[in-house]
């Protein structure tokens, strides 16, 4: 404590001194006569000028940086702001020719209306079912496969792994065409499983987790074997805890995938009972241009976006880490 205080004091003093010397510098620069009176040589005067210009430049650059970043931040945030305030306005207020930047009257009722119009309850439920089931199953498959590729020895391992990696090059649309036929032939359309099963194996996640597993020293595995630990127990007690950040990242990305998926569900499960949130939102509000009840529509959009924000607020670290490490565009 005492140390801190003295430190603070000394920095304060330093600050004061700096201010003082800055003031003096300014005086030198502006009042040439005074400088001569103080018997400063020309050379020293020039040095002072340079110091001042440097300082001014530095401050200006910092001001410019913050100004630019703040403007960009406003641009980035504006759509969210507009979504929220629009969702709280009355229709009449929204349509004022001069828009208001804060609602005169908070219309929380818009949210209830939006919830009912788009039957968001069912959509939330469907999306959660698909999201949670597919995440859990996908994690199990990913962990088992990644473990086999990282730790077990079997014939054709490298060939198989290379073949899997090669499929990552191919755009998803190419798979969709045939998968659409396959699930239709299987009679899976308008079920939950059609939304879950085709995407359970993600080569990319297997690759990501395998890389993570490989970083765990092999001695840990050998030590566990000497102690008679079974592979499954080792996986559960050692590998999974150590690779937890990657697994959390995968979970978040997978859940976000269910939340944001649009194309596939629209093709194969667009009935009332199984529809997912994004499709529901788009279906409920087909008109985006012209004379639209925007406050209600924005309330619905806010409701759909809100869980994502929650995830973002609490798990930002994992998302940012996961995305920067894996470089996936969701």
């Amino acid at each position: 404590m005492a140390d801190d205080m003295t430190k603070n004091n000394s920095t304060l003093q330093n600050d004061k001194m700096e201010i003082k010397s800055a003031v003096e510098n300014e005086a030198f620069a502006t009042e040439g006569v005074e400088i001569k009176a103080l018997k400063k040589t020309m050379k020293e005067k020039d040095m002072n000028r340079v110091v001042i210009t440097q300082k001014v430049m530095k401050v200006m650059v910092q001001v410019f940086l913050y100004l630019f970043l703040c403007i960009m931040a406003i641009v980035v945030l504006f759509p969210f702001y507009w979504m929220i305030i629009s969702s709280l306005k009355t229709l009449d207020e929204y349509r004022l020719s001069v828009p208001t930047f804060w609602p005169r009257q908070l219309m929380l009722h818009n949210y209830a209306d939006a919830f009912n119009t788009a039957s968001l309850g069912v959509l939330f439920k469907n999306t959660m079912i698909v999201g949670i089931v597919s995440t859990i199953l996908s994690l199990v498959i990913t962990v088992l496969s990644a473990f086999a590729f990282a730790r077990l020895e079997f014939k054709g391992k490298n060939t198989l792994f290379a073949a899997l990696l090669a499929t990552m090059m191919i755009p998803g649309e190419l798979f969709t065409i045939t998968n659409y036929q396959t699930v239709t032939n299987l009679g899976w359309t308008n079920t939950y499983r059609v939304l879950i099963i085709p995407f359970l194996v993600s080569v990319f996640y297997i690759y990501l987790l395998r890389q993570n597993f490989l970083q765990i020293p092999n001695e840990l595995y050998l030590a566990a074997k000497v102690d008679g630990t079974s592979d499954l127990k080792y996986l559960w007690r050692v590998m999974i805890p150590l690779a937890l950040p990657t697994l959390i990242s995968i979970t978040i990305l997978k859940m976000m995938g269910a939340w944001n998926s649009y194309i596939w569900p629209r093709l194969v499960a667009n009935d009332e009972k199984h529809r997912l949130i994004t499709n529901g939102l788009r279906n409920a509000f087909t008109e985006t241009t012209g004379d639209v009840n925007y406050p209600q529509q924005m309330a619905a959009v806010a409701l759909v976006s809100f869980p994502l924000f929650l995830v973002f607020v609490f798990l930002r670290k994992y998302i940012m880490k996961g995305v920067s490490r894996s470089g996936i565009k969701g």
Partner: protein, 315 residues
């Protein structure tokens, strides 16, 4: 290191993946290529027992198909517009973020926010911001009208309001809106990657430049950009791949009509074309278009790799 005769154990661990992959990954590749090379292949007719000749008719037809060329043009245009703009903007923002100390984390978080959004949902917000309620020409029998917040801002600065997305809007206006939205959407990912790259550059390079009295702008072009080139290359290539698969952001703003009310499908993209063909049961055409998309992505990747070998510096 460990001797293992128990190969079967590995295969048990792999079993779920090994069962699912052939069905939903391997077979689709074979089948889609097959359909693409069966002239005029239609799934329903095939079930009915019709046979199709082997050939490249799907490809020759599709490239002459006006709807397809429109889609191709839209897709390429969006790529060419959005990738350079978003990359450059992201680079500038990342460099600025990297040179401040106070609020760096907070600002970084704000810039990442658009990543965790639903592109359909936020597309609807953008539509609201650009939309004009009421007749654009402002006839007197309109009760209330708002030109939309964007137009209001433009008018505040003394500009003319523009019909961005409503019926009667121009192609250029539509594309501008799409560019703004896609760039907004693409920024967070690029900023994150580039900032990560910047933070891993050894500070010594900058100290050396400082000692030599190198100007900021020169430091940027001669040190930052070359040392960041692997990340830049990565961001650009993923940008192009993402751009060629653009679809949902247009659905977000314009709805499934993929264009303003009076000219639907005007903004359709490659992916949109594939799904339209699929829902009209033209699997042959869809497969051919998907293979063309794959080809384009492959070429872009190869070009990037080739240029990368010559230009990218790995520190």
């Amino acid at each position: 290191m460990v001797d293992s005769k128990q190969q079967w154990k590995a295969w048990i661990y792999l079993a779920p993946a090994i069962i699912l992959l052939p069905v939903f990954t391997v077979w689709p590749i074979i089948s889609t290529v097959r359909m693409a090379f069966l002239n005029g292949y239609k799934g329903l007719e095939a079930v009915g027992g019709a046979t199709f000749n082997f050939g490249i008719e799907n490809f020759t037809k599709v490239v002459k198909y006006k709807k397809f060329t429109q889609c191709l043009k839209n897709t390429i245009l969006l790529c060419v517009l959005t990738v350079p703009i978003s990359t450059f903007l992201a680079l500038i923002i990342a460099v600025c973020l990297n040179s401040i100390k106070v609020f760096q984390k907070a600002l970084q978080t704000i810039f990442f926010l658009p990543y965790v959004t639903n592109s359909i949902a936020i597309g609807m917000v953008f539509a609201a911001m650009f939309n004009i309620v009421g007749s654009f020409l402002g006839t007197s029998n309109e009760l209330v009208q708002t030109a939309g917040i964007i137009n209001n801002v433009i008018m505040f600065f003394g500009g003319e309001k523009i019909n961005w997305i409503n019926a009667g809007s121009s192609y250029v206006a539509n594309m501008t809106v799409m560019t703004v939205y896609i760039v907004w959407n693409a920024l967070p990912f690029k900023i994150l990657i580039l900032l990560g790259g910047l933070q891993s550059i050894n500070k010594q390079y900058y100290d050396a430049a400082k000692v030599d009295g190198t100007r900021r702008i020169r430091v940027f072009w001669r040190i930052t950009v070359p040392l960041l080139s692997p990340m830049l290359a990565y961001v650009i290539i993923t940008g192009f791949i993402g751009g060629f698969k653009e679809y949902t952001s247009i659905v977000g703003i314009f709805g499934e009509k993929m264009g303003p009310a009076d000219d639907s499908k005007r903004l359709n993209t490659m992916v949109g074309f594939i799904y339209d063909s699929l829902s009209t049961n033209n699997q042959g055409r869809a497969s051919a278009a998907a293979l063309i998309l794959f080809g384009i992505i492959l070429i872009v990747t190869l070009i990037n790799l080739y240029v990368g070998k010559k230009r990218v510096h790995y520190a």
